[in-house]
């Protein structure tokens, strides 16, 4: 790790002003569970001049329902999300996703905002400086994507363009299935975008001087079955090879509403819209679910070593709906 200026931010407004001032040379530190490993590994070519501590911003750790709309602040801890009776009642997909993250100790430090904004895990991208890195690649602004010809067993099977690193966040997948919106604050105020539009192949929707302040989830009407299923090499403490979240309403065996989100298969979270179409209005049985699973993966274009992820994703989609 190198030296940097450390600033405790008091408010969102101040944070954005600082981000503006440092013009790309400052980073936010929430729980630090991801940031510190990037600062230590020094795998990027630029090193931040300043680290802005956001933990000192008060009032950004809420988990509340307001008029049926769920609101979670960027500084809410994942451990609080796992424990929250409110979330357990109506937003089980998010609880399951948060619970699948890392370890209890890490969840005690990790925040909602940090989980959504964490950097990708591509092993070429994260190659530590002091053992021969940093490695140049397209995401870092020069050279080709090394994963295309290299070992891409954990990379994207769809939606990749130039960079094939997948979005590692578990909670993002659940939030997309819950149709969440993400609130972004900048010097000029706040804006809201759909969670699903937050990620792009080379990063996310944040501008240099913006930060995430929270997420909102629209009112859930009627009973909804929710799941988050995660497949990883090792069950505890490991990033998803595939994550699938489902939110589904079934009345008398018939699916009246459904949203399915796929994680760790693409640079962002993927909504399986065609599969949702297929299921909506249908009696749920093995056949229709298998058909939906096929459709969810219809757009998959696996790389040389990751076709197995397609099969695993299909299975998870089926299980997320049937079980």
């Amino acid at each position: 790790m190198r030296s940097f200026t450390h600033i405790n931010a008091g408010t969102v407004h101040e944070t954005c002003a600082l981000l503006s001032k440092y013009n790309g040379k400052a980073v936010l530190n929430a729980g630090g569970t991801d940031l510190l490993s990037t600062l230590k590994g020094e795998h990027l070519f630029d090193y931040p001049e300043a680290v802005i501590n956001t933990k000192t911003i008060s009032g950004l750790d809420y988990i509340r329902e307001d008029g049926g709309v769920l609101e979670i602040g960027a500084l809410a801890k994942l451990s609080e999300i796992v424990k929250s009776p409110l979330l357990k009642k109506n937003y089980m997909a998010l609880v399951e996703a948060a619970r699948s993250v890392a370890t209890p100790q890490i969840r005690n430090a990790a925040t909602m905002g940090g989980n959504l904004c964490q950097d990708v895990r591509c092993w070429y991208y994260r190659y530590p400086r002091h053992i021969g890195g940093p490695i140049r690649c397209l995401r870092k602004g020069s050279g080709p994507c090394l994963a295309v010809k290299g070992d891409n067993r954990y990379h994207a099977i769809m939606g990749g363009r130039r960079c094939f690193a997948v979005c590692p966040s578990d909670t993002a997948v659940a939030l997309v299935a819950l149709d969440a919106q993400i609130t972004i604050a900048g010097p000029k105020g706040e804006r809201k975008i759909a969670m699903i539009d937050f990620y792009s192949p080379l990063g996310n929707a944040l501008k240099k001087d913006e930060m995430v302040t929270g997420i909102t989830v629209p009112r859930i009407t009627g009973p909804m079955k929710q799941r988050y299923l995660k497949f990883a090499l090792r069950k505890p403490v490991d990033f998803a090879i595939v994550g699938v979240a489902s939110v589904i309403a079934i009345e008398e065996g018939v699916c009246t509403d459904v949203r399915i989100a796929l994680g760790a298969v693409a640079p962002g979270v993927v909504r399986a819209r065609r599969a949702e179409e297929t299921l909506r209005g249908c009696y749920i049985n093995e056949d229709i679910v298998s058909q939906a699973a096929e459709e969810a993966l219809a757009g998959a274009r696996p790389l040389s070593m990751n076709a197995y992820k397609v099969e695993i994703t299909k299975t998870l989609v089926k299980r997320a709906i049937l079980i």
């Binding site: 190659y127 002091h130 053992i131 021969g132 090499l233 090792r234 197995y308 089926k318």
Partner: protein
């Protein structure tokens, strides 16, 4: 008070338990002092290059930097290596793998150290590398070490018994298969650390985490141009090693740093990534097997070719492969055998010792072969093993007659009567939808000690202190396995002392006696035997000394009890402290030596000669496969072990459980991947090892044969269980769904691919049948 078994066979808390769990125990990394300097290394980061120049100018001028050293500052040979001196302290002419040390920096603080290391650049000509052992053997292959007389061959080992050539013609069934096993990283909790300084007498003192303090001096001295007698190594408890600290890690670098520190102590402590990058690994291997048997299942002929990737330096890679060759036939009688093994240089990470020392690799292959054969001739996997398993008096695959305790068959018997074996069919039938269950077994053997050409010697030292305490000087390192505590238990047994009241001196080349390495499943056997002799001498000496005091007539009338000697005929007691007053300084200390017995006159059978005494095991595993994701989950595990008598059941079980966990990691996820020099799994986020949550219920049953030559009848228990999990899991996966994966670990990805292929074949079969 005194009974035959005072402490023996009992679970008593380890001597190191309390100090470790309370954080009071000082490991090598815990040494700090006034005015010390940090030492750190610039690593090559490229796998193969000619080194043309090193630019340290900027580094030298960074405030806080005290010295920047390159190979030009190394006054000795700048080479070390246990068998072959091929490894530089600091790279000079060439870079052979990414972990090579190019320059050494000494600085006041870590920040200056980091900046200096970062600023060092070197000029090089990149050379094409060689990354596959079979490729490396080709005539045209790039040479890793141009001056190596045999090109890329580190060691070639042939073994032949009987007449294998013609024997295959006498077989009713012959099967062939190829197996590959991954490179495994030890991932010990304690990364490499040490502390060094020159004391007032001009002696270089190194406090370091090593398994081999005495041998290290022979390596450090010539490499740095120092006098061996003037190097002292002190070795605290290690936070794990598993073979990864068997030899030089940072000792030479620390010594070099101390030579340039202006008299200040130096400290070095590798981070996780540096440890992964620079340390030795379990050698990956490709193994070609051919096995022939009679119709009744009698194994008749075995042929194998073993290719072990030794990486950039010899280390003990050649010896690892040799032990593999010796164990290539696992625990069976096979009269006709031809084994050829190659350990080969590549530009990959260095291959070296790792718990099992080559045996897990070949056991993985052989135990799968046995199952493949059993299936082919329609025999039960347990039956075929029982039929061929070695018994005392048999001749093993390399022609050694097994005259010592041989409990392999007993292990199989215990396994066959266990509820997990008996209940396996019921368990298999009750799988949930889309899950299939399988049960696998594997046998294993593990030789104890060094091969005959390297005398396996331990020198024990025990003292009655002035305070009347019994103090044991352990010359062998305790890397976490608890051997030091077992020494106290053994001495306590003989001298009827509780171990909490005893004292322990950990290895220190100045205070303890040379006793060899902490490795080869020898540690407790060899040192324990020496210690028993020394403790018995001390006991008699105590009795002799107080005989006149009590006015007794016969030393045999005395008995010992905690802190005192009792003379039952008179009822008199003398405290050990009082007894101690009758000892002169030199009389207080008793020493003795033990040399492990070896096979005589067969040294030409295999490089370094074959082993005489073995531990054995039979393992059983329950595995459940998710047919749709390919995930293999281990549900239950049974390990039956013959490691002779058990001195401390808990310490024994910890060894078995630890080896199973490490073995399951090896079977299911651990694969240290390097793609043409790029370490794809350089940290614990990418190199996945099992956590406690991934480990199934484990049952360990010792069969406790009595090894006549062993201390209290024991044999080595540290490595034996490492070889079982991989083949047992492989056999269980086959049992569950009919697939064999040629290259371990058995990740979901590979299982799923194989399952898809299998269903495609079955589908095609049905289509073709119409």
């Amino acid at each position: 008070m005194h009974s035959e078994k005072y402490l023996l066979g009992k679970t008593i808390p380890r001597f190191d338990a309390v100090t470790k769990v309370t954080g009071r125990e000082r490991y090598a990394a815990d040494y700090y002092g006034d005015d010390f300097l940090w030492a750190g290394v610039k690593r090559a980061g490229i796998p193969h290059a000619r080194l043309k120049g090193i630019d340290i100018a900027i580094a030298k001028n960074i405030p806080g930097v005290v010295a920047v050293l390159t190979h030009e500052d190394v006054k000795g040979t700048n080479r070390y290596g246990i068998i072959r001196k091929d490894e530089p302290v600091l790279a000079d002419s060439k870079i052979h793998h990414c972990g090579d040390a190019v320059a050494l920096v000494l600085a006041e603080d870590k920040e200056a150290l980091r900046c200096a290391i970062e600023s060092i650049t070197f000029d090089y000509e990149l050379l094409p590398g060689v990354f596959d052992p079979e490729e490396a053997l080709k005539e045209t292959a790039i040479k890793v070490h141009e001056d190596s007389p045999e090109g890329n061959i580190i060691r070639y080992v042939p073994v032949e018994t009987g007449t294998p050539e013609s024997a295959f013609n006498e077989c009713d069934t012959v099967i062939e298969a190829v197996f590959e096993v991954s490179r495994q990283e030890h991932a010990y909790l304690e990364t490499e650390a040490g502390w060094a300084y020159f004391d007032k007498t001009g002696q270089l003192v190194i406090v370091v985490a090593t398994q081999t303090p005495f041998r290290d001096r022979f390596e450090i001295a010539p490499a740095l141009g120092l006098d061996m007698e003037k190097i002292r190594l002190i070795v605290p408890y290690l936070g794990g090693a598993f073979g990864g600290k068997d030899g030089i890690t940072l000792q030479c670098l620390l010594g070099l740093a101390a030579l340039h520190s202006g008299g200040r102590p130096v400290k070095m402590w590798w981070g996780r990534e540096e440890s992964f990058l620079a340390s030795v690994k379990r050698l990956p291997a490709r193994m070609y097997y051919r096995l022939g048997a009679k119709n009744d299942g009698t194994l008749h002929a075995l042929e194998c070719r073993l290719y072990f990737d030794g990486g950039a330096y010899a280390s003990l890679g050649g010896e690892v492969m040799t032990l593999a060759a010796e164990h290539a036939g696992s625990a069976y009688r096979i009269p006709h055998v031809s084994i050829k093994g190659w350990c080969v240089y590549t530009n990959n990470p260095i291959g070296g010792p790792f718990r099992g020392f080559g045996v897990p690799q070949v056991t993985a292959a052989m135990e799968q072969m046995v199952d493949i054969l059993a299936l082919k001739i329609r025999m039960d996997p347990l039956e075929i093993r029982r039929k061929n398993i070695v018994r005392q008096g048999d001749t093993n695959c390399v022609g050694v007659t097994l005259t010592h305790s041989t409990g392999a068959e007993e292990c199989l018997r215990v396994l066959s009567e266990h509820p997990l074996w008996r209940g396996k069919d019921t368990w298999k039938k009750s799988a949930a939808p889309f899950k299939t269950r399988g049960v696998g077994i594997a046998c294993m053997a593990h030789a104890m000690g060094y091969p005959p050409i390297v005398p396996d010697v331990a020198n024990a030292k025990i003292e009655l202190t002035e305070e009347g305490k019994i103090r044991v000087y352990a010359g062998v390192v305790d890397m976490g396995q608890g051997n030091a505590s077992t020494y106290l238990q053994m001495a306590g047994e003989i001298l009827s002392q509780d171990i909490t009241g005893m004292e322990l001196v950990l290895p220190d080349t100045e205070r303890t006696l040379p006793s060899g390495s902490s490795s080869a499943s020898r540690t407790t056997y060899t040192y324990g035997n020496a210690l028993i002799k020394a403790a018995n001498t001390l006991k008699m000496r105590i009795f002799e000394k107080i005989l006149p005091l009590i006015q007794g007539s016969d030393v045999n009338e005395f008995i010992l009890a905690p802190d005192r000697v009792i003379h039952p005929p008179t009822g008199k007691e003398v405290s050990l402290k009082e007894a101690s007053r009758f000892f002169s300084e030199s009389e207080r200390v008793c020493t003795d030596t033990f040399i492990m017995p070896v096979v005589e006159g067969m040294n030409d059978v295999i490089y370094m000669g074959p082993h005489l005494i073995y531990s054995y095991g039979a393992h059983l595993v329950y595995v459940e496969i998710d047919r749709l994701t390919g995930e293999a989950e281990v549900k239950d595990y049974l390990a039956v072990t013959d490691a002779g008598r058990v001195i401390n059941p808990q310490v024994f079980e910890q060894q078995i459980q630890g080896a199973i966990a490490q073995g399951l990691g090896y079977a299911l996820y651990e694969d240290y991947m390097v793609d043409e020099g790029v370490h794809l799994t350089p940290d614990l986020a990418t190199y996945i090892i099992p956590t406690s949550m991934d480990i199934p219920e484990m049952t360990s049953i010792p069969v406790e044969t009595f090894e006549e030559s062993g201390p209290f009848g024991m044999k080595g228990a540290g490595e034996i269980a490492m070889s079982g999990p991989l083949p047992a899991v492989a056999n269980a996966i086959y049992d569950a769904c009919g697939i064999r994966i040629p290259r371990s670990p058995f990740t979901a990805e590979k299982i799923l691919k194989a399952l898809c292929k299998l269903s495609a074949i079955i589908f095609a079969f049905f289509i073709s049948k119409g």
